[in-house]
Symmetry: C2
Subunit: 502 residues, 2 copies
């Protein structure tokens, strides 16, 4: 390996270590930390953020990148070496426009915002949260002001989670998806589905065993994974063999904990599947939330809510239900978890209405960012749009605008990646069913290894080596498309409802 | 506050944050981390160590300290401001002699050594551990070689845990203690004590409840503390309101978990009691392990194994024992936990023999450091000295040389602080019994608040503001002494055995 590239690699390994250290402090904060630990934890995270930002944007990074670029002659532009250099260049050029004090202020506001959100949510009082929310949006505006080249200000924050993606492109995809989902939802809205089996008193101890069993089918093992409780489920990892999942359980609605665990495990498999050699390079940290969400949503929905896997899942659900769901039939479970029921809570939404929850958030965060909507008017705007898109009435801010962690933690620009992740999952699902001809038989037996290995081979192992566009071109032969997801959904819902949806 | 002092304070706050971040990664590593997380965690810790070392030893630190010193005119030399400056100067002068690569190598070897020790201990095979041990001692020698001014090479490592203390001084104290303990042990060695109540099958679930109850009496609360399981109990903290205790339970010997929890909680109370304003200064991290151990040993032994507290403890032990110890009498418990029984395991040793375990380790680590003893010969030397000092035969390396975590984690020079901590605890105990006249009545009722507040007022709140010598002068009127500890022990053991020991 050329000398300057090696030196850049070593330098960025330290930055990666800092990012992982931040992730450890974040994970601890959001799972186990005693509540009074919050103020100093925010300082500690801010200090790590400051150091990481200073390193990444330092003259030394600039010099090392330039020297490494000069060494790239003859090296394939999509080789690991070349991509370590270009990814560092990309991050360097973006981050060095941002003053360190602003980067630190955003990190601090994110920590504090999360704490404020937890308290406001527990109290069901949006007014407690509003100042923190305003602060996060104000800092996002200041962040955008550091840049001068964009079609839309939102491009800058979207790019943080979907590198290279423009707002207009995301909007076109989201609106096409919305316009194709709404008639589908309308067709199914009034149809009867028996969802009673989901709303039973299922002991939390049994729910833990159920999650444990399903995660082990997926690839979870005690040598390199943990599952812990939290308020808002998330996944993080500190190495390819140190993956942390979190979930939470509702005693009267077991799908909440189960599907959150599968969703987060889908994220975890992605990070666990990265080529170990990439771990301490910039390619070892997944940059694309869109691809990330395609993995979590594929496991949660295509697998977890699919007819095939229901054959393995239903007996597992029944066995740990303390008799409450004994004899649960796969078909009953399959139909229940695919009921199209417009509701107020995104992470419990069915796959058809889910996309509308995202469109709503995408639109509202753009309005907030542009100050076309003020924070104080957000709850009313939220509730009005829920009525418009989903036809549901939001009973309280806790089940409305206070339900999501993202904005509290400064994750502005993240939401579209869920919907785009669904679209990509639709494309991957279409592809893998061609590549593994007996996939349904395997899923029905609870055998998830072939699927996991396919995803590892096609997606996971590359980490952030390829752009989304490149990766999709390799795996499915083209860019993000809405049709495969809609076709998949129509076939599945048609099956679940026993109707033809074309 | 003067400008340069303020700037120094801000600069060192970042270093303190880095130390706390390291502590979070360490804590996670030693409690919850999946085993395969170890290799990358070692890299992450090494990177944080590198950055902290570079910051502390940077020209900027030197300039800020010099500028701050120039501003100190007229400020009391033992004021918080002056001590922040002088403590930073002390650390700067010591650490800048150490090349960053050596500091990083020591941090990495400590992480890896710990992992190796865990595996070797589980396998009961010293030969697996020997190379890691050799490496840690070799790095300690290289570390000592960075300095040229000492009476004894061991001074340098001792100073890391007892700033300013010299080997000759520690040796004099330890040997006086040893020479006064040995006849005491000889007098009691053959006497009968009923220790059967300690060796019962006490359900671990009940042991957890017992530890929880006792810790809450001590001041543990869910808002700012956690208790988790580990292999080798330790305490760490990330703020004065984020204190982490760890312990482990033996199903057939409940004192192991109980007293380890009390010991660690004694450490925790020290760190929780530091004046909050000092938290992000160099004075907020406790530099003196000797004072630290005085706190843990005072709570574990003077309180936990005292006759007075037995009145509160015995019913608590009985109540959670699942009937195994119902009706346990305070006097029976008191006598059992004070049985002088030379044995192989340090952390389960009685107070009289404990000191000899320390002397043994102090002597062996000095020999290893000086290469007067080779690592391969350590088990034999260990076992021979156990025979000499304690008259016990070590059955296996697991209960011999592999029992302690310290050397594996690079903590060479730490052991003497346990014994000196015991001596200091003897002095504090003598003092507090004069200051709180009804202390025994309070302890007998399980009321530990006055004692905790006294310690907070006299010791905890100062953090590392004073040297050990200054602090002891303030609280007990003089330097470390052996007599108060020996007198305390004679009185207690005389009571427990019903004999006069003078």
């Amino acid at each position: 390996m050329a000398k300057d590239i090696a030196e850049l690699r070593e330098w960025t390994a330290g930055i990666t270590d800092l990012r992982r250290a931040c992730a450890v402090l974040q994970w601890d904060k959001d799972t186990l930390m005693p509540p009074l630990g919050a103020p100093l934890r925010a300082e500690q995270l801010a200090t790590l953020e400051r150091i990481a930002h200073e390193r990444l944007t330092s003259e030394r990074t600039g010099e090392l990148v330039a020297a490494a670029e000069a060494e790239l002659n003859g090296i394939a532009p999509d080789s690991v070496e070349a991509r370590i250099v270009s990814e560092t260049r990309r991050q360097y050029e973006k981050d060095r426009r941002v003053p360190v004090e602003l980067a630190v202020a955003r990190a601090k506001a994110a920590s504090q915002g999360y704490e404020t959100w937890v308290a406001a949510r527990a109290a069901g009082d949006f007014s407690l949260f509003a100042p923190a929310l305003e602060r996060n949006f104000q800092l996002a505006r200041e962040y955008i002001d550091c840049f001068d080249s964009y079609d839309d200000p939102y491009d800058i924050v979207l790019d943080d989670f979907a590198p290279g993606m423009r707002t207009a492109y995301a909007e076109r995809l989201l609106h096409e998806m919305r316009d194709r989902l709404m008639p589908l939802i309308d067709m199914l809205r009034e149809r009867e589905v028996d969802v009673a089996p989901l709303h039973v008193d299922y002991p939390v101890a049994g729910q833990r065993q159920l999650a444990d069993q399903v995660l082990r089918w997926m690839g979870f093992n005690d040598a390199g994974w943990r599952l812990d409780d939290t308020i808002h489920p998330f996944e993080t990892s500190f190495s390819v063999t140190d993956v942390r999942l979190t979930t939470r359980y509702h005693g009267d609605y077991f799908p909440a904990g189960l599907y959150a665990a599968m969703h987060e495990c889908g994220h975890g498999l992605y990070e666990a599947g990265v080529e170990p050699d990439l771990q301490r390079t910039p390619l070892g940290l997944i940059q694309s939330s869109a691809i990330h969400e395609s993995q979590s949503r594929l496991w949660e929905n295509m697998v977890g809510r699919g007819r095939a896997f229901s054959n393995a899942l239903a007996p597992a659900v029944a066995a740990r239900s303390d008799g409450v769901l004994s004899g649960l039939q796969p078909d009953v479970l399959f139909r229940a978890v695919n009921a199209v029921r417009p509701s107020t809570i995104r992470i419990e939404a069915d796959e058809a209405t889910y996309g509308l929850h995202i469109v709503l958030r995408f639109e509202l965060e753009r309005l907030l960012l542009a100050r076309e909507l003020e924070v104080d008017d957000l709850p009313a705007a939220w509730n009005a749009r829920m009525q418009e898109y989903l036809g549901v009435k939001v009973g309280s801010d806790a089940e409305g605008v206070l339900q999501d962690v993202h904005w509290s933690a400064g994750l502005i620009g993240y939401f579209p990646t869920y919907a785009i992740g669904n679209l990509i999952a639709g494309q991957l699902w279409q592809r893998v069913r061609l590549d593994i001809s007996d996939l349904d038989d395997q899923l029905a037996a609870g055998e998830l290894q072939s699927l996991r290995e396919w995803l590892r081979e096609k997606v996971h192992r590359h980490g952030s080596r390829y752009t989304d566009t490149e990766l999709l071109a390799q795996v499915v032969g083209g860019p993000v498309e809405v049709t495969p997801f809609i076709e998949y959904l129509k076939a599945k819902l048609g099956d679940a409802y026993g109707v033809a949806l074309d």
